[in-house]
Each structure stands twice: as C-alpha cells, then as structure tokens.
C-alpha cells in the first residue's frame, strides 16, 4: 500500500484585505513566476479574506508572495477525484461522514479527466485511508510540487 503522506497536498493560503485589486496582485505575481493555479477559492469575513489555492509549485508561490509582503502559509489538504455525474459528491461525503471525519472547508474544480474535490479535514490520515479503502482515488502531492 502506498504511503498516506503521498496524498497530503500543500495548499497556499494568503491573507488579503477585502478591497479592489488584491486578488489581481496575487494572480499577477503567480503569472510572472509562471505558476499555474489548479484550483482556488476565497473565504471572506468582515473586511478581510483568505485566498486559498492549489498551484503547481507551492514553494515558489510562497516565496514570491512573501517577498511581495503578503502573509502566506501552507495548509495540508487532500484532493479527491470524483465521478463527474450525479452522486459523485455524495460518495465522497458519505465515506468521510461515516468515518467521523469533519470537513473544515472545501472547494472543487473540474479537472481534465475528472472533477476534483479539495478538502481540508480534521483527520487527514483517516480520511485518506477510508477513501482508498472504498476504492476512491486521490491526487498525489507530486502533481503539486
């Protein structure tokens, strides 16, 4: 069996004030460094937000944004391949629910060959084990570094 840590992916999280142009500044920096964004989401609160993204080179993205003065951190997430058809999300959510794994937040994207669900969970190892045990497919971290 493959090592579970193989499926723990580094997401970058960036603190941003909630005002026009901040996302453009982040995106421009990544474009200049030729860093590709696979998926991203914005979580917003009153006056500020956190931009979360899966990129092809998290280390370089972290360095670039930090140099620009942004506050950046890495967060461990997992990415599950879903069937892109009715019931796809249900399967994954049910496995995690049955295992007592809580989802802190999540976002999804439609990849080239499947829909992908990005998950921040409270017990990553448990989640990986259960998903693999149910024949589910996880994206490996090698795609993102």
């Amino acid at each position: 069996m493959e090592k579970k840590s193989e499926y723990v992916i580094k997401q970058i999280s960036v603190f941003s004030e909630n005002r026009p142009g901040r996302l453009a500044a982040i995106a421009e920096a990544l474009r200049k460094e030729k860093i590709n964004i696979f998926a991203f989401s914005i979580a917003e609160a009153n006056g500020f937000g956190v931009v979360r993204a899966l990129v092809n080179n998290p280390e370089r993205a972290h360095e670039t944004l930090t140099d620009m003065g942004f506050m950046v951190s890495f967060t461990d997430v997992i990415a599950v391949k879903m069937r892109d058809e009715p019931g796809g999300l249900y399967e994954t959510a049910r496995i995690l629910g049955d295992a007592g794994v809580n989802i802190e937040y999540s976002y999804a994207y439609s990849g080239k060959d499947a829909a992908v669900l990005v998950l921040r969970v409270d017990q990553a190892e448990e989640a990986i084990e259960r998903i693999l045990a149910h024949g589910g497919e996880l994206l490996s971290r090698s795609l993102f570094s």
Binding site: A43, N46, V50, G69, F70, M71
Partner: protein, 433 residues
Amino acid sequence: MRTWDPRIEEMPQDELKKLQYRLLKTLVYRLYSFSPFYHDRMRDEGVHPDDIKSLEDARKLPFMTKRDLRDNYPDRIFTASRDELVRYHVSSGTTGKPTVVGYTSHDLDLWTTSLARSLTACGLGRGDVIQVSYGYGLFTGGLGLHYGAERIGATVVPTSVGNTERQIELMQDLGVTAIACTPSYLIHIGEVAEKMGVSLRNDTDLRVGILGAEPWSAQMRDRIANQLGIRAYDIYGTSELSGPMFCECSEQQGIHIWGDIALTEIVDPDSGEPLESGEKGELVFTILQKEALPMIRYRTGDITSLEVATCACGRTHPRIGRIQGRVDDMLIIRGINVFPSQIEHALLTIPEVGQHFQIVVDRKGALDTLLVRVEVGRDAFSDKITDLMSIKETVAHRLKNTLNVNVGVELVEPGSLPRFEGKAKRVIDRRVL
C-alpha cells in the same frame, strides 16, 4: 565616565532648590524689565517680581503656550537682539503656523551641556559611535544630538532620516554603538535590516538607542530591547525648550530634568492648578537660563507625572515619567477621553497583531465611531477564518476594556500601514463638526 558633572547632578536637593530660586528670581526680574510681552502678561495677572519670595511662588506667574510663539511669529518675544543670535530652529507647523526658536551661543551651550549630562547618564561617552538618525535641519533633533554627542567625545555618524538601507550598512561598517532616532523609525530600521538579512543583534555593535520625539510605551521599549538586543532610553524635549534635552539614566526610572536648567511642574490640564508629585497631568517648564527665548511656565501639552525623590543612580534632580500622550492629541469619543497611547499599550499586549496601527475617527449620524486598523502578525496568520475572527474579537475586546468605548477593528496586511520617519501621525479624524 559615570556622571558628566557630579557637582551639579548630585547636588543636595535643598541646595538645588536654592539655586533654582536664585535663577528664577533673576529671570523674572529680567523679563519684567526687558520683555514688553512678559511685562504686560505679569501686569495683567497682577504679579510683580517682588511677589516671588520662594520657589513655590513660581505658581503665581502666568503661563505661556505655543500660541504665544505663534501669535508673535517670528521673533517678537525674543529677548536677545538679532545680532546676538547664532541659530534658528523652526517647528514643523503641522498643527498651525510654524514657531521659531532663536539661540544665542550661551543658549546652544546650555542645550549641549544638558545633552552631555543626559548621554553620559545613558552610559555613553568617548569610544562610542553614535548614529544620529533624527532629521537635521530646522528640526531640533538632529543638530541637538549631534553637538551633545560630540561634547562627550563620542564619534558622530550624522545620517539624518531616510535611506534606511544605507543607514544599516554604515551601522555595520563604522561600528555604530548607539543610535538616536524615533522609536518607530528604529522599528522600521529593524524591519528593513531583517529583509536585508542583517541582524542588528548579531551583525552590529549596536547596544544603545536614544529614542524620543514621539510618545512610546514601556511595552514598546521591551519589544525593541528584546528584538534588537539593545538598551532603549527615553529622551525628552521640545523645540520651545531648545530641543531634545533630557534622558533616562541607566536605572530607567524616569527622565532626569536638570533642575538648574528647568523648573518642572505638573498641572491639571483643565484648571491649570498644580498637582502633587506622582499625579498625572500636563507638564509645565520654566527654562531658567535661556537668553534669546526664555520660557516661563510653558505648557508643553505633554501628559506625564513628576517624581522628586533622589534616583538610585545618585542624581538628585527630579524625574518625569513616560509621556502618556498629548493634551491636544486627546480624542473625545462620545464624551470619553481617548489617548492614542492607550491604544498602543493595549495592542502591545496582544502578540497576534503588529505594533503599527491607525485610528480612524468618524461620525455616523450624531454618533462618533472609532475604528482601529492593525496589522496581523505573520506568526499569527492562520488559514482558518475563525482564528482570524477571534484575533479581531480579542483586539476589540481589549480596546473596549481599556478605553471604555466600543471600537471597530480592521485587520490589515502586514506592512500595509504607513511607517513614520518623523513624528507618527496615527489618527485620521473624518468628523465634520
């Protein structure tokens, strides 16, 4: 050298009081006789020099304020003729018309002597290399410290303000041991050095900071001392007195005010009544020996307290506490007095946020609102919104407890708030009254 002039600095207090009384008496007679401005002021108040029979009688004399200098711009209340003046300094005038201070060569000597004593009290002297990063020019900070440092035999690096990267290079190359600047500028230097990969603690000989020209807190001192590995001394002065003049000694239990140079009082900012030793109020100075622009009972607008007991260092002269704020910086929010320094103190107790902040005062309908913008500390950044929200709530809660006013809090990106190289301007008042 431990003490610049032990004969004066360790003079028994009763002798010091006698000396102050003699100097005050001479000053009052001189002004009554030769200054039309102060003569009229005393006459209007019904005070004659003969009424000054003890040092305590100083409180019978009328106050002077910055307004007197403004109203008599540029030099109408000077008591020296123009050809006796050797220098002018001009205050920035951010709060109104600028004020001009003139100096005879005796006045400059007095100023420099005061600083020689003060810098010696901070443990500086021959062999030290002092970087003067206060502005040189019309502002008193740069030139004042410059001559004070030269007087004690230290080597001066007159960098003035700005070009921070160069300042850091010089600090390393010339073996700078002390820096004189505003506390917020030193924090800025520390931040820039870190970006350059220079540790002020490990890569320089810096051991002393002479910091002033803006109010700062004890917590900020600890933070500077811990981060930069130096001893940070508080220095005080205003251009109306000459410039920066008085410093803490190595005991760091207040700023020594040389009694032969200045007579210090603390008064109630509203009534003008003198307050007891230890009570907090407005700082009032009489400069006892100045020729060109003597100041009698000058109301500085600075809030602090006075300690008259002899210091553990052996100096007998009175000390003032940390400047807590300014009478005119005081914000009145829904009838409650708020000092920006209180906000600074409160923020320094919260490690998750930075030390820079901005206060925005506005009025919604009839209600004043107070918004504090503060930077999230890099170490505290969490990907979780709930963590960030809880930082925000902690700040709001702490400020509410300190100020007794509801405060809005805005978390902003680190490095995004303005840094100040001169006096910090942290309040934006949008109220249209």
